[in-house]
Amino acid sequence: MISIDEFNGIYNKHVDAVFRIVLRAVSRREIAEEITSEVFLTLYQNVDSITQDQLPAWLFTVAKRRTADYWRRCYLDERWSNQDIHEPEEIFPEFSLDDLLTKCSSLKPVHRVCVILRFAQGMSRSEIAAQTGLSVLQVKGNLQYALKLLRDTLASRRPLSPAQELSADV
């Protein structure tokens, strides 16, 4: 049997790790908060049968199951592949973004993350900030820096023509 103090100790010790695991799996803080709460409520309800040495593995297992339940509820009927897909309208770009991102060695992971979230995932600056924990200003700075590097890399890879000349207004 776990006493109040022990329970509070367990909560304080493991709540961050449980929240982190859940947040990785659901990507929405308010949902992660709710699921983390459910995990510790389950611990409370099973407090008689759990021993300290089963923790934190027991909490992580419950967290994974709860997130799996969440996804099953949310996406069983509405599959992303059935949604209105914004295909790139038969565009055959000169260069693919992924190709250029891998070629541009000066880009750091955080720059690539900002670029992909902005242009492939279609997120706004504030959404990117929420996902990454950066400030909106940092996201803006990272995007501008990354785009400048991409333009430079692109310019060095194709011959300049008046029609395709890249604007250097950054």
Partner: protein, 288 residues
């Protein structure tokens, strides 16, 4: 030549260079991360796996995200989560004690009823019936009053402004309240429960789910919901949320019940203050 003036850029150009595009439609980030964590249903997981085989961007994104530290749990979130979880009982013997006390009260109640049934009626004795207050046991079963739906959901009431995105609008709340007002509690509980999942930061679904569960005599399930409602409720509903939280805590013998009742009793502006004081007196001292 066009007469149109050049566009005024209020900020630096934030578009991809011409000729550079993502080459495929990618699933939303939450799905990608859920796939990585192995928590997706199998059919969906296989679709994501198939996409990842030919997409160049998503693997880069997932790998790079490992290098970007995730925002940690804030102190407010930590406290909010903790408040939804009742504290476990204090000592190993407490439950045995509570069980014994409940059994004793139950036996006394049966004995009282049997004796009362066996006693002569007033007509037989010629005495007038006197209504005596029945002796309340320490842990009495409380009569739960049904909480009225919030005023802002009244029919024909037109509200100005827009509902915040983390709060349900009246149309979303209507089906649950329809079942609630018709006393169809199982259906109301189901509908409020769905709303709590959809709007985890809104107090109304938690409050009315908790009240519905209390009305169904399921105070154990009601307690975490009412604790959360108590935390989230704005001033206009704080009083009701705190009172129903106190009721649930009392019924489940939660250790926090005396402190909630005491603080409600002291609040003279509370409509539930007299009832809270009355209930507080009946609360036994916690075992040391």
């Amino acid at each position: 030549m066009s007469d149109r003036p050049p566009p005024i850029h209020s900020e630096i150009d934030e578009t991809l260079p011409p000729g550079l595009r993502p080459t495929s439609y990618c699933p939303p980030l939450p799905l990608l991360r859920a796939y990585q964590e192995h928590v997706l249903p199998s059919t969906l997981a296989s679709e994501i796996a198939e996409h990842l085989q030919h997409c160049g961007l998503c693997p880069i994104l997932l790998a790079d995200l490992e290098h970007v530290p995730q925002p940690a749990l804030t102190a407010e979130e930590r406290q909010l989560i903790r408040q939804t979880i009742p504290s476990p009982l204090r000592a190993p013997g407490w439950r045995w004690y509570a069980g014994f006390a409940t059994a004793a009260v139950f036996i006394l109640a049966i004995v009282f009823l049997v004796l009362r049934h066996a006693a002569p009626t007033p007509n037989q004795t010629g005495q007038t019936e006197q209504t005596k207050p029945s002796p309340l046991p320490q842990q009495t079963h409380l009569e739960i009053a049904k909480l009225d739906p919030p005023l802002e959901l009244a029919r024909d009431l037109v509200l100005r402004g827009t509902v915040p995105p983390d709060q349900p609008n009246p149309a979303e709340l209507a089906p649950a309240f329809e079942s609630y007002t018709q006393s169809d509690y199982p259906l109301a509980a189901q509908r409020f429960s769905l709303l709590t999942k959809q709007f985890p930061r809104a107090d109304i679904p938690f409050l009315y789910l908790g009240v519905t569960q209390l009305l169904q005599n399921d105070s154990t399930a009601a307690l975490p919901n009412l604790a959360r409602a108590d935390h989230l409720a704005p001033d206009s509903r704080k009083d009701s949320a705190a009172w129903y939280h106190a009721l649930a805590a009392s019924q489940t013998h939660a250790p926090e019940a005396p402190s909630i009742l005491h603080s409600m009793c002291l609040r003279k502006d509370s409509a539930y203050s007299p009832q809270a004081c009355q209930l507080e007196k009946k609360w036994p001292d916690p075992p040391r």
